[in-house]
Every structure is written in structure tokens, then in C-alpha cells.
Symmetry: C2
Subunit: 344 residues, 2 copies
């Protein structure tokens, strides 16, 4: 744990962090006295800043430059010094209106829109995990025959999602046979979360059913597959170009690494999943992140729910020099609105 600082040091640390976030330039002692006058000369501030550097809260890019916050400095700032941000009415309006579209009945549209807004309000890149069905509970399964060869599997969860998938049916089934299979499956699966529908459970059911009805192999493989597919979740990105506006990403090589990351959906998914916590907003600064390529970045995550069941994560990714206060506030609002919208 970081040692506590006396009030004067805290004031100075705050001044440095706030200023550096705003200007992206190292902050010198002069600047601190000028902007946050506290009746002290620059020499005194200099001494204090030297102390703060010794304690690990500040670093110097080179001997004769100002100071910039270290990872520890940001951490202390976020934990102890940050003042909550007031969102402007305009921001508030933008966030709300992004979700109020009457027509957005498909959840993917809502999520996609949210990603856009989250990135534009924060000026960072946003990542939102699509709904995780595996955390929803199985509610109902239907199979609708389309023609001789195809059927439509419809899966309904307790969180109100409906996923469907077309399957080929090699063998034809009579209406009655189909009905029999479907009701058997419904009975067995009801109330389980999608997570709990494991391959072994499916195999068991398959063995069971085969005794009664031997025609089903193909249909079963396909059900299994369709469930498996639901477990891989889309991650929606917004404002990927925003990182290019940050001075810390003027190096093409860094840009490449970031964009490369953005193309790897499963990886993004894992990062979001690892970072997030159901109950609160999580701030991961620099090397606090597991994944190497974002250890110069800060990732802030929150989760959204449907009927009190957590089903997805939203994240904002940017350089460690990020307006923490603002992003966290925006994230809070976004989560609130999203929860309301999705639970109605």
C-alpha cells in the first residue's frame, strides 16, 4: 500500500496530475506555484517535488524537465485526491439520447450505440462486451421446421433474450417426433444457466434420447454447436481513432500494436472479463494491467445488468494520462442508463 502523504504533498501531487492530464507536458515547480498558488515559492515546491519523486509518485523524463506522475502517482490520485466531475447538461443529454431510440429493439444495436457514445464523450476508445448469454438461464427451446431440410432453433433465456439459428436436418422428422424431442429438452434444461449446459450434459442427453429416437444425431450436433457459439461473445468498439489524438501515440509502432489488439476480439474479451468486477467500477493503471500491450494504458471498466443479473462489461481504454474523474463519472452514468434501458 502507498504511504499516506501530508496535505501539502497531496496538494502538489494533485496539481501535477491535474496539470499533466490537461497539457501532456511535464509540470515544473514554477507552473505549480503559478497555477495553484499556495503562498509558497517555487524552491519549496521543488523540494517537495523531489521528495515526491523519491517516494515514487512522480518521475522525471530527464534531469532538467518537469515532473510527470508515475503509475503510483495516478493510483494515489484516483484513490485519494480525485474530485468527482460534474457532467455538463450536454453530455448528460448525449448519453441519454444515445439510448432512448425507440427503434433499437435489438440489443446489439443498443450496445453498438453505447460504444460510440462512450468513446465520443470520453475522447478515448471504448470497448463493450456484448451480452453474455452463458450467464442467463435457459428458459425455453423451440424448433420451427422451415422446409424439408432445414429448421430454426429458437432459444429463449430468462433475461428475455431470444437467440436463433438455422440448422440443416439430414433426416426428416415428423412433427410429432420433433415435438417429443423439444419437450424432453425443455424439461431437462429449464432453469440451467447456459454456462451449465456443458458438453458432458449434452452427451448425456444425447444418449438418453437415442434410446427413444435414433434419427436425431444430426440435429443434436447442431444444437450443441449453436450453444457453443453463443459462448463466444462479440466485443463492440467505439472511437478506435481517438487514440491517435493522444500525443503519447504519435509513434506509428505503438499505434500498430494498439490497432492489432483491437482486431483480436477474443483477446479483448478476456481482458475485459479479467479486469471487470460486478459490483463496481475498476480502474487498472499501466502495469496493473495483465496484458503487456496495454501496460502504458489505463483501462476503466464497469458492468451492466439485466434484471440484476450481470451480463456484460464496458470499458474505456486510453493512455495512463487520462481524465480519470470524467471517465469514471461518464462510466457511472452510462451503466445506470444502460441498466434501466435493458431491464425495461
Amino acid at each position: 500500500m502507498a504511504p499516506a502523504l501530508n496535505e501539502r504533498k497531496e496538494q502538489i501531487l494533485r496539481a501535477v496530475v491535474v496539470n499533466y492530464i490537461k497539457t501532456a507536458e511535464p509540470v515544473g515547480s514554477r507552473t505549480v506555484t503559478r497555477l495553484y498558488k499556495m503562498g509558497l515559492s517555487s524552491a519549496t515546491i521543488r523540494n517537495e517535488m523531489a521528495d515526491l519523486e523519491e517516494l515514487g509518485f512522480l518521475v522525471q523524463p530527464h534531469t532538467s524537465a518537469g515532473r510527470i506522475p508515475s503509475q503510483l502517482g495516478y493510483r494515489y490520485f484516483v484513490d485519494n485526491l480525485m474530485e468527482p466531475d460534474d457532467l455538463s447538461d450536454v453530455d448528460e443529454q448525449v448519453i441519454r439520447s444515445s439510448l432512448s431510440f425507440e427503434k433499437m429493439r435489438e440489443i446489439e444495436q443498443i450496445i453498438n450505440n453505447s460504444a460510440r457514445v462512450l468513446s465520443s464523450v470520453t475522447n478515448q476508445t471504448s470497448l463493450i462486451m456484448g451480452p453474455q448469454f452463458k450467464k442467463s438461464a435457459f428458459h425455453q427451446l423451440r424448433i420451427l421446421p422451415l422446409d424439408e431440410k432445414r429448421g430454426l432453433v429458437v432459444l429463449i433465456t430468462d433475461t428475455g433474450f431470444i437467440k436463433n439459428k438455422v440448422i440443416d436436418m439430414q433426416q426428416q422428422l415428423t412433427q410429432a417426433e420433433l415435438h417429443q424431442v423439444v419437450s424432453y429438452l425443455n424439461q431437462k434444461l429449464y432453469g440451467l444457466t447456459i454456462d451449465q449446459v456443458t458438453t458432458s450434459l449434452i452427451n448425456e442427453l444425447k444418449r438418453d434420447l437415442f434410446k427413444r429416437l435414433e434419427i436425431l444425431e444430426q440435429a443434436f450436433i447442431l444444437l450443441e454447436e449453436s450453444l457453443k457459439e453463443e459462448k463466444q461473445i462479440r466485443v463492440f468498439l467505439g472511437g478506435t481513432t481517438n487514440i491517435l489524438n493522444q500525443p503519447e501515440f504519435k509513434d506509428v509502432d505503438k499505434i500498430r500494436r494498439m490497432l492489432n489488439l483491437f482486431e483480436q476480439e477474443p483477446l479483448l474479451f478476456r481482458i475485459l472479463e479479467e479486469t471487470s468486477n460486478e459490483n463496481d467500477i475498476v480502474v487498472r493503471i499501466g502495469a496493473e494491467n495483465e496484458y503487456e500491450d496495454i501496460q502504458e494504458c489505463t483501462l476503466i471498466t464497469g458492468t451492466y445488468k439485466i434484471h440484476d443479473k450481470t451480463i456484460g462489461t464496458l470499458g474505456v481504454l486510453g493512455p495512463t494520462r487520462m481524465d480519470y474523474s470524467r471517465v469514471i463519472t461518464v462510466m457511472r452514468r452510462m451503466v445506470d442508463y444502460l441498466n434501466n434501458r435493458l431491464s425495461s
Copy 2:
């Protein structure tokens, strides 16, 4: 139309283009004699190159640099000088295997995979338009009641696509009423392309139906909406980071403009649609492109079909200095395989 060149000029132009494509450095007269020895001194080549510049096929970045091809130069090369590329067995293998996955039943997966492969084999960015349903013909409509409040609309086209969408139904319909509506719609819409299902036609049907059955308004709005939605098509991107490897994109500002473009799906769609031609591969070099932000790029497009019906476009986007021969050959193969795969 560009004037015809004598053989010697053609040889030299080809040499310059080929070399510049490979090295990204302006090509001087010495280099041409050294690499493509044709029994002439560099002075002669110099004279010829000066002619080629006068004719508009070559340009000089500055007085004392070598020459690079102009847009016209590339055009002449593509139209007259290019030799077809032999794909290596490895490439061939990669392309084929990207599509042979047994499990990819969903067309979006196939398209997505194709985008990935197309970009990695060409080392450029690829864009593939998802299937355009509006060019398919209406085949069958079904509505499956899910519970009291919701139903599932299933739309089947002659190209074998099945699109479906969940709708809310404010008023409850009896099974019989629903059946009546559905069969009426099927009768009216059968054989029309989705394109032809205009708002006015829908309104007409609506009036018609209202006479018989007044409960349907809500259901109708939603059918309309779901059709409208099918008209906006996804564009799948692959290898967006590849442009960063090109030396012409070392400027952060150019990168930003490109990436910005990539985020605007509807725009990409329009560009692909405008550029492509059903019957052949189209090469748009530099300012031949309509859209301003890609006038330093070349876009090469091809189309893919299902049962001889064109339903989508694939594109490769990169700097004008692009390996035309290779990209075009790869595009041809890709189109072939894709057509085969989708029509089976």
C-alpha cells in the same frame, strides 16, 4: 485514352513500376539498366524516362530523384504491361482452407474469414460487403409466436438465406388470424426481390389487410422495420493494420483519416457498391476513386454470387503502389472459391 507507347518505352515503364512497387524508392536510370539490362546505357534510359515524364506516365518527386509512376503510369501498366502472377501453393492452400471449414454454416462467418485471409495474403486491407438481401427474391415468410407478447418473423429468400427478427406484438393474435395474415403476405410478396418491397407496396398491403383485420398495425410496422434493416448491410474488414506497414502511411494524419473511414460502415458500403462491377474485377487507381480520402489509394473490387446472382462485393484497399498483379490474381481465386462455397 492513353497514347500507345513503343516497345522500348513500355519496357522501361514496366521496369520502373515493378521496381517501385517492390522498393517504394524512386527508380533512377542506373537502376533500370542494372536490373533489366537491355543493352542500353543509362543516358539513353534517361532520355526515354524524360519522354515518359512528358507523356504523363512518370513523375519526379524532386529534380534530382529517380522517377515514380503517376496514376496514368499505373493505369497503363495494369491495362497493358502486367504479367499474371503465379500464386504459390502455400497461398493457394491458405485461400482454400479459409473457406473449407466444415462448421461455417453461417454466411457471416464465411465472409469474415474471407476478409481475414484476403488481407493477409495481399498484405493490404480488405473490405467485404456482406450478402445483399435486397438482390435476393422473396420466397417465404413465417411468423412463429413465442409467447403472449412476442413473435419471430422468419424471412426466406430464393438464394437460401434465412433472416429472422423478434417482434413485439402489442395485440394478441389468434393462431388463425396470424395464419391468415401470413399466407396473404406470402401470396403477395412471392418472387419479388427484397429491393422491390418498397414502402409504398407495404403501405398498399397494409391498407388491404386492414379491411379484413384491424389488429395488425403493430405487427406491420415491425415487419416493415425488419425489412428496412436488411437493407443496411455489414461490411467486414480485415487487416486494417496492414496499411501501417506501408511507408506511404507513416504520417499519423493520413492514418487517422484512413481509420476514420474504416469506422464508417455506410460509407464503405457506398464506395464498394459504386466501384464494383458484377462481371469483372475493377481496379480504381488514385483519383479514379470518387471518394476523396482514398484518392491516394487503389481499390480493387470483385463480386461474389450465389447461384449466379450477385449478392456482394469484396475489395482490397492499399496505396497506389500496390502489387497489382498479385492482388488481382488473389482476388480472382477468392471469388472463385467463394462462389463455389456459397452455391453449394
